[in-house]
């Protein structure tokens, strides 16, 4: 009696694990796995106000993660994967925008602003 209950309970436990299991990605080596997790934290979820696809469970983020996984297994490089995503979802998808065009303002704007303030400060003090 106790034994049969034991089997019943343990089978419930086993099957409940299956039904709530997250998708587990299988990689060929650790390097691939590391690349996967760094990439999904650098790709912005297109459905969210702000957040990477790693942090999002939106259907489109799940699709994106699966795609990134497939591309890594197929042997695509990080840049190729990012380009693949931004070709479809726009520059918005990349948390680290490429160094080109209007993005220069994004990258260097703060530094230019900071140096301007320092220059003004410097001249002001010299004037005094």
């Amino acid at each position: 009696m106790i034994k049969s209950n034991f089997f019943l309970v343990s089978s419930f436990l086993i099957f409940s694990m299956y039904s709530f299991g997250e998708i587990v990605y299988q990689f060929e080596d650790i390097a691939q796995e590391k690349r996967f997790y760094s990439l999904i934290s650098e790709i912005r979820c297109p459905k969210c106000t702000s957040g990477s696809i790693a942090s999002s469970d939106a259907p489109v983020s799940r699709d994106l993660k699966n795609k990134v996984y497939d591309l890594i297994i197929d042997g695509s490089s990080d840049d190729e994967i990012k380009k693949y995503v931004s070709d479809r979802f726009g520059n918005f998808s990349d948390y680290r925008p490429a160094l080109e065009g209007a993005n220069y303002i994004l990258w260097f704007g703060p530094f230019i602003f900071l140096s301007l303030i320092l220059i003004i400060f410097f001249f002001k003090r010299r004037a005094e």
Binding site: A58, P59, F89
Partner: protein, 173 residues
């Protein structure tokens, strides 16, 4: 305190304020109007009746609308799409992550504004198009995607983004 510094103290906050006001108050529509034209992705899919959809079906001026029977906002924009289709706008449906039966029943119940609907149960074509959910709409002119909006198609979005592009395209031909 010298004069130019006093001037700067007034000017800099004004510049910063206008900059952020500009960024924050940018209209949703305006955000979508900046769109890089791209080719409509290639696909091998059937319509809801199981007939293969050819790439050539997307030449001319087509409004591609992403919809699904589970999508509530699709029902909200449905009357507007019907109005467009009555005005001879050719609307191609992209049935997104749906089941054929439910989709067909939905069209039977609410009416069908689409000339045909591409059946994309796994969302493969939708992914290549950059669909983030339903509803979304694309303006496709001669197999080129020229505009994209997310969310409900409203008369405002139609008139400010899609209609000018259609007018321009029909003047050129």
């Amino acid at each position: 305190m010298n004069k130019s510094l006093r001037f700067l103290i007034v000017l800099v906050p004004i510049i910063i304020f206008t900059f952020f006001a500009n960024v924050l108050l940018i209209e949703e529509d305006e955000k979508f109007s900046k769109f890089n034209t791209k080719n409509f992705p290639s696909f091998e899919l059937n319509d809801l009746n199981g007939i293969p959809v050819k790439y050539e079906y997307l030449d001319g001026i087509k409004l591609v609308n992403v919809w699904a029977s589970w999508c509530i906002t699709c029902l909200v924009e449905h009357p507007f799409l019907t109005k467009l289709s009555d005005a001879n706008i050719q609307i191609v449906g992209l049935n997104y992550k749906d089941s054929n039966n439910k989709a067909s029943a939905w069209l039977q119940k609410h009416g069908n504004p689409y000339i045909f609907s591409i059946y994309d149960p796994r969302g493969d074509l939708a992914f290549d198009l950059g669909v983030t959910g339903a509803p979304e709409s694309y303006l496709v002119i001669d197999n080129q995607v020229v505009a994209h909006i997310q969310g409900e198609m409203t008369s405002k979005k139609w008139e400010t983004i899609f209609y000018p592009l259609i007018k321009k395209a029909s003047n050129e031909t």
